[in-house]
């Protein structure tokens, strides 16, 4: 989230699309009801189903699953063709005026540079024009035909209300009402907040859905202001934290990247990442990349990381191919993976195409599951009839199930989706012999280190040189680990401007903020963006002062928000280029003549004088502005374009390219995509408020509230198929069939898309074969094995199925 949960109350319009905040983020949704009750806000819900969020909306409209880009593109077209944009903001704070290279273009559904064989683009033409000094060519008049603004206008001119209705099935009069409400925030004094979650990400072009809302929010001037922003509501309690810590194949903590084989030295690695500014006066904050990365290496290898050995750069593995979950299971399926360790997580129920998963897990030599609960993944080898069709006698995988504590039995921090890091305290001992994950990981590492010390083996250097300076090496404490994360001075740090002054930090002292990090090995910090959360002032994540002096929902002394305890990102954009608030109603910070002051920590250089220096508010970008045109960042192109889901009932109304031209599809998976002849209905999967993934089915109370798997269909489809509420039905895709109860509802309606009716089948995801609920099939038995081209998030929100009534299941 760019903004915080409490900040939602400042919104004038709330758009919930690609998510179901009332059900999936219920207590955060409280602030939507506060905005409605106390700010007169209007709530718009756009969803294939009339959800429990829609139940309290002012305006609801349906759309066909997988057609979000067409809808949002239509909104962009409305804003541009009706001139409903916040002009001053767009001109000053976005790249609207930047001129794009002459060889960039878009035709027949493809941008320039496409290579059909590689299913990939050469993205070199997706770039600005630069002058001889390396500065971007800018046309402040916005008249240049190739400036971003005009390219944007041209690209979305095709996204008319007629095309929106034809593609999405959304009635034009409702779409019009949504556009008008959204456009009402194209001013300095009103804001719209966009709340989304997996409804936008679980598509083969999910990242481009997010890009679309970013474009809309920038055109409206709603980024960096109270009640605005682009707010990913996110998943698990610490999905934000674990993302921040880079537990991905190709990531390093703090949104840095793993080195590639093409970067043999630290210098090679750093030179392509510390982006030089593209315009005068810009901060281009990533220029500090080297300080963050070297400090990270010092946290990894401690005193063993020296300038002579490039701070241990060679010890970090190099990653050319991203081994994400889908690829890992593909490797397993191909027999190319021998071991697999799950720390929590229940992939058997959450990765698509269960048949393939069981097959893959069965080929492993060993599987380790650490979990407080008996997960289906750990029990994958068991036979539960059609629900889990495995034959244990045929499966040679050794399986280890390690009992871990639950949240109540440990201490440490979680980071919520608004980036607030909060410490929690232990209430009781874990049951039986359960241990903490920290204890298990330490044991695992120390035993392996011991084996390598005794026996030697493949490249033991990074293992032997890893820093492990904990008071009790077998049980590092969360307190020690959080200090290591925050970072410290390794030697006395002198003031670079005046070395004669007393040191800024003495050796061993905790750092105040990432601004103190250095690239010479004199500082260590595991995750630069967390630097500041545990300084010599103490563990700030423990703070529990609920006060909110401004009344704007900032709560500056509750926990610690990264970065720098800032609660609203890009808040420099809440003031005009001269440093004056765009409006008093949406004021966050302002220039008082000598520094930036306000209700939140400025997202800017505290003393940069806006009257003399034209530094842009988007300091992480080398342009200093936000991007309407993303250059080469996204694999599909610099503007989002509508493509159909890989399984779709209609031909793409926008052009000849049916589905995402760069999405990765493995051999064998393309063949099991279904067609609308055999599978005429569009299915979408989702969570229900009564359950959390595959977790609460172990909790009796939640089992009582929602005991049994069901699917939801419209009254019309129910009539066509002779299905009554409470009947058993079979839902099939080209990969599997599942059985469930039928809920027949007015909340799902057939949509008319491209001239024909499209029925939607809704499938909640929460059931399995262990726990307090009734046993049930999983939605992932049906779903296709394809992910978003940028993130490899599987396409769970739109695929094809058939449905029929069956006799009661025993």
């Amino acid at each position: 989230m760019t903004n915080g949960w409490n900040d939602i109350k400042n919104a004038d319009v709330v758009l919930v699309m690609g998510g179901n905040a009332a059900e999936a983020h219920t207590c955060g949704f409280k602030w939507v009801t506060e905005a409605k009750a106390n700010n007169g806000a209007k709530l718009i819900v756009v969803d294939p189903r009339f959800t429990r969020t829609a139940a309290v909306s002012d305006l609801y409209m349906p759309l066909r699953p997988g057609s979000d880009i067409a809808f949002l593109g239509g909104v962009i077209n409305y804003l541009l063709s009706n001139d409903k944009i916040f002009h001053d903001y767009v001109k000053a704070y976005t790249n609207a005026a930047y001129v794009v290279r002459a060889d960039f273009g878009f035709q027949d559904g493809l941008f320039t540079g496409y290579d059909a064989e590689k299913r990939d683009y050469d993205r070199s033409s997706w770039e600005y024009e630069f002058d001889s000094e390396g500065n971007v060519r800018v046309d402040p008049s916005l008249r240049h035909p190739r400036c971003v603004f005009n390219l944007l206008k041209a690209h979305y001119a095709r996204y008319t209300p007629e095309m929106v209705e034809r593609t999405c099935g959304t009635p034009q009069h409702l779409f019009q009402q949504a556009c008008e409400l959204i456009a009402s925030t194209a001013s300095s004094s009103r804001s719209l907040t966009a709340l989304y979650a997996l409804g936008w990400t679980q598509h083969s072009k999910g990242s481009q859905n997010i890009r679309n809302i970013a474009i809309i929010q920038l055109l409206l001037g709603n980024v960096g202001v109270p009640g605005g922003g682009i707010n990913a509501l996110r998943g698990h309690s610490n999905v934000q934290g674990i993302t921040d810590f880079g537990l991905f194949s190709n990531s390093v903590p703090g949104y840095m990247a793993m080195p590639k084989t093409s970067e043999p030295t630290l210098e090679d690695y750093l030179k392509t990442r510390a982006f030089k500014e593209m315009l005068p006066d810009q901060m281009s904050y990533w220029q500090n990349y080297g300080k963050f990365y070297v400090s990270f290496l010092k946290a990894m290898y401690g005193r063993n990381a020296t300038p002579e050995n490039q701070f241990g750069y060679d010890w970090m593995p190099k990653v050319d191919v991203n081994l994400d979950t889908l690829r890992q299971f593909e490797m397993m399926f191909q027999g190319k993976m021998n071991g697999f360790i799950c720390q929590g997580f229940n992939p058997l129920l959450s990765v698509p195409n269960r048949k393939k998963l069981i097959n893959g897990l069965s080929k492993l030599k060993f599987l380790v599951v650490m979990d407080p609960l008996h997960t289906e993944t750990a029990h994958f080898f068991e036979n539960h009839g059609d629900i889990n069709d495995a034959d244990p006698s045929e499966i040679a995988t050794e399986v280890f199930l390690l009992p871990t504590n639950c949240f109540a039995e440990e201490e440490g921090t979680f980071t919520n989706s608004s980036r607030v890091i909060q410490w929690h305290w232990k209430a009781a001992e874990p049951p039986g012999q359960a241990r903490t994950d920290i204890q298990i990981m330490a044991d695992l590492f120390l035993r392996l280190k011991d084996l390598y010390a005794k026996e030697g083996g493949a490249f033991p250097d990074p293992i032997m040189n890893l820093s492990w300076d904990y008071r009790n090496p077998a049980r590092p404490s969360p307190d020690e680990l959080l200090r290591e994360i925050n970072g410290k001075a390794l030697v006395d740090l002198t003031d670079p401007n005046d070395p004669t002054k007393p040191p800024v930090k003495k050796a061993g002292e905790l750092l105040d903020l990432f601004g103190q990090l250095r690239d010479d090995g004199s500082t260590a910090s595991a995750n630069w963006i967390y630097s500041g959360c545990y300084s010599e002032r103490g563990n700030l994540t423990m703070r529990r002062d609920p006060s909110d002096p401004s009344g704007m929902g900032i709560h500056p002394n509750w926990g610690y928000a990264w970065p720098a305890n800032r609660r609203i990102l890009y808040n420099r954009a809440s003031a005009d280029p001269q440093g004056r608030p765009w409006s008093n109603r949406k004021k966050v910070i302002e220039w008082n003549g000598s520094q930036w002051v306000g209700i939140d920590v400025p997202d800017f250089g505290a003393t940069i004088d806006p009257t003399t220096r034209a530094t842009g508010p988007f300091i992480m970008n080398p342009e200093g502005t936000a991007r309407l045109f993303t250059r080469g960042m996204m694999r599909e192109g610099p503007f989002p374009e509508h493509y159909e889901p890989f399984e779709s009932p209609v031909a793409n109304p926008f052009g000849p390219v049916q589905s995402n031209p760069v999405a990765r599809v493995f051999n064998g998976d393309m063949e099991v995509f279904g067609t609308s002849e055999d599978y005429p209905y569009v299915a979408t999967t989702y969570r229900l408020v009564e359950h959390f993934h595959y977790w609460t089915k172990h909790a009796r109370m939640n089992a009582i509230l929602q005991p049994e798997l069901f699917v939801e269909i419209s009254e019309q489809l129910a009539r066509e198929k002779g299905i009554a509420a409470g009947d058993w039905v079979e839902v099939s895709s080209n990969r599997a069939r599942i059985q469930a109860k039928a809920v027949v509802t007015k909340r799902i309606r057939p949509l008319i898309c491209d001239g024909k009716p499209v029925h939607v089948v809704g499938i909640p995801i929460h059931w399995g074969f262990i726990g307090a609920t009734k046993k049930g099939f999983g939605a992932n038995q049906l779903t296709p094995y394809v992910g978003d081209a940028n993130t490899e998030t599987p396409e769970y929100k739109a695929f094809l199925v058939n449905i029929k009534r069956i006799n009661p299941m025993v």
């Binding site: 219920t26 360790i341 030599k365 750990a378 050794e398 440490g412 921090t413 607030v420 493949a458 509750w558």
Partner: protein, 196 residues
């Protein structure tokens, strides 16, 4: 509505298994106040924690029996929203309000379990057994499949044949320690649930 005499007696007759005969002495009021159910949290210990489910991260207060004295084992008896927490302000969703049943779930794992090849189920084993066996299997796989260089001779130092899926309901501290340990082994098949 009218009521027949027979219906009346049928209704009366449905009264069963009463355990008090005070009815026979009915008529006067004995007290001006009535007992309510005793307040069950009167002397429990309160611990601040964070709901482990979604990323709103609501504040919760966990109530345990006992006062921390050495001879009393603390049992978690109730979980309620933290009224001071700026986001949830004491409220909880149906999942958070039911956390007690997750903590005490019948399907919690309480001891290390092992399933041998071909077996139909798990059997309980010791921590030493599982950790020895797991690390041995990991080392065998790493030693056999670690790639120091690419085919064209570039430094790689990666181990890709054992995968690691990190949880996202684990703490940041766990995440960091996991990152350290996993990368020190050269593991590159690393992912977490953020994607899904």
């Amino acid at each position: 509505m009218t009521i027949t005499r027979r219906e009346f007696f049928r209704l009366s007759g449905s009264a069963v298994a009463g355990t008090t005969a005070s009815l026979l002495g009915f008529g006067t009021l004995e007290a001006v106040a009535a007992e309510v159910r005793p307040y069950k949290l009167a002397r429990t210990t309160e611990t601040r924690n964070t709901c482990p489910y979604c990323s709103v991260s609501c504040g919760v207060i966990i109530h345990t029996t006992g006062d921390g004295a050495k001879n009393t084992k603390a049992e978690i008896v109730h979980v309620e929203g933290d009224p001071d927490h700026p986001v949830n302000r004491g409220s909880l969703c149906p999942k958070g309000a039911a956390l007690l049943d997750f903590i005490h779930s019948e399907t919690r794992v309480k001891e290390p379990m092992y399933r041998a090849p071909g077996e139909a189920g798990f059997k309980p084993v010791s921590w030493d057994f599982v950790m020895d066996r797991i690390t041995r299997l990991m080392k065998e796989d790493r030693d056999a499949n670690f790639q120091a260089v690419t085919e064209d001779g570039k430094t790689l130092n990666a181990w890709a044949t054992t995968g690691f899926l990190a949880g996202c309901a684990t703490t940041n501290e766990t995440g960091w320690l996991t990152y350290k340990a996993v990368r020190s082994l050269g593991m590159v098949a690393l992912d977490n649930q953020a994607r899904i």
